[in-house]
Symmetry: C2
Subunit: 188 residues, 2 copies
DNA sequence: TGGTGTTGAGAACGTACGTTCTCGATCGCT
DNA sequence: AGCGATCGAGAACGTACGTTCTCAACACCA
């Protein structure tokens, strides 16, 4: 038996596979990337890929899940180093601004996946909804600490900024959304 | 020569084709709908389809263009029957609420097309940007009449409501966005 | 050392798509 | 009436994809 596939190796393969798939899917769109391209980029044999994920749909869902953990983890890490509750909410938009300005930014992976696969894949749709719900709840927690009833507007401003920055390719919606949020957070 | 193809017939064919393609694309996604399905639904021979549009990409762009005219036309018709400038801006969100509640609502056709085709089709990307720019400018005109500097926040609230209603399948974001816009429009 | 079971590399398979081509049918014109 | 151009219906073509299968190579154990 060559390379007996330890548990550790499985973990490494899984990481390499998700890394390659996530990069390609985000860059080119999910439907535009075939399994052969994922194989080439990951360096894994097709057989091993299909042992890790029984079908492409499962790989896609796993990519979205892992990205959700990392994306919201980074957001939380940035936001929660701010002490003042109102400033913390505004820090969400600062983090978005940094994200929008990253090279290769192509919008929200989940919104894009929704556009591509929502009508044809229940599993992808569920993952997209799960991410958006979690993002909403994160914001709700931070806004709640301000004692102001502006959870929904802050969330909608964030979503609007994400989709607008993606389509225009311009990161300034983050600034506009931040200013609007600051207005809503200014207790009269 | 059978059915000599008058200019009038061309116009009718074009309408039937765009009707069928728009419905199918919006319902199932663009990539999931083949030309054969468009042919069946439109009742037009493939030959005539390809004489009207040299390639699927051209058909997709034409569908988005015509939908843009109709979508923004309806929005404007609803909004501009309101006299008071501030109420007129709020009427945008009332119209969105009605749209979200329509049966078969599956979000913004342009955002969905962006997710599907932005990386692979320059023409579609340009059409999506054109629509979003026009929508932004429409809102800018209505907000400008209020004399308040809230064009960007109102626009971002609208985009956020559209994308959130699409993914959650719940029309209430329109109400939340309306309330936030009303706050921003309340001169202190 | 020989057998066994697993691996990697990629060929193979079935399907589906976008686009083009075939061909018999049809109608206006002389 | 007969010619010729053009049409409709769908077969055909080339390509690409997701998934499965083939098979030689190999490492471990008896």
């Amino acid at each position: 038996m060559p390379a007996p596939i330890t548990e550790e190796q499985t973990r490494l393969d899984r990481t390499a596979l998700l890394d390659a798939a996530e990069r390609l899917y985000y860059e080119k769109g999910i439907q535009a990337v075939g399994m052969d391209e994922v194989r080439t980029a990951s360096g894994l044999p097709l057989k091993r890929i299909y042992r890790l994920f029984a079908a492409k749909e499962d790989l896609v869902v796993a990519v979205l899940q892992r990205r959700d953990e990392r994306w919201r983890g980074r957001l939380a890490a940035h936001v929660e180093q701010v002490g003042d509750p109102r400033e913390r909410v505004l820090a969400v938009f600062d983090w978005l601004a940094g994200w929008f300005a990253e090279p290769g930014f192509r919008g929200c992976a989940w919104i894009n996946a929704f556009g591509e696969l929502a009508p044809s894949s229940e599993a992808v749709l569920a993952e997209v909804r799960s991410h958006k719900q979690a993002f909403h709840d994160q914001i709700a927690g931070w806004v709640h600490a301000t004692g102001l009833p502006v959870v929904e507007p802050v969330h909608l401003l964030a979503e609007g900024a994400i989709v607008t920055a993606a389509i225009t390719g311009d990161p300034t919606p983050a600034t506009h959304a931040r200013a609007a949020a600051a207005t809503l957070l200014a207790t009269p």
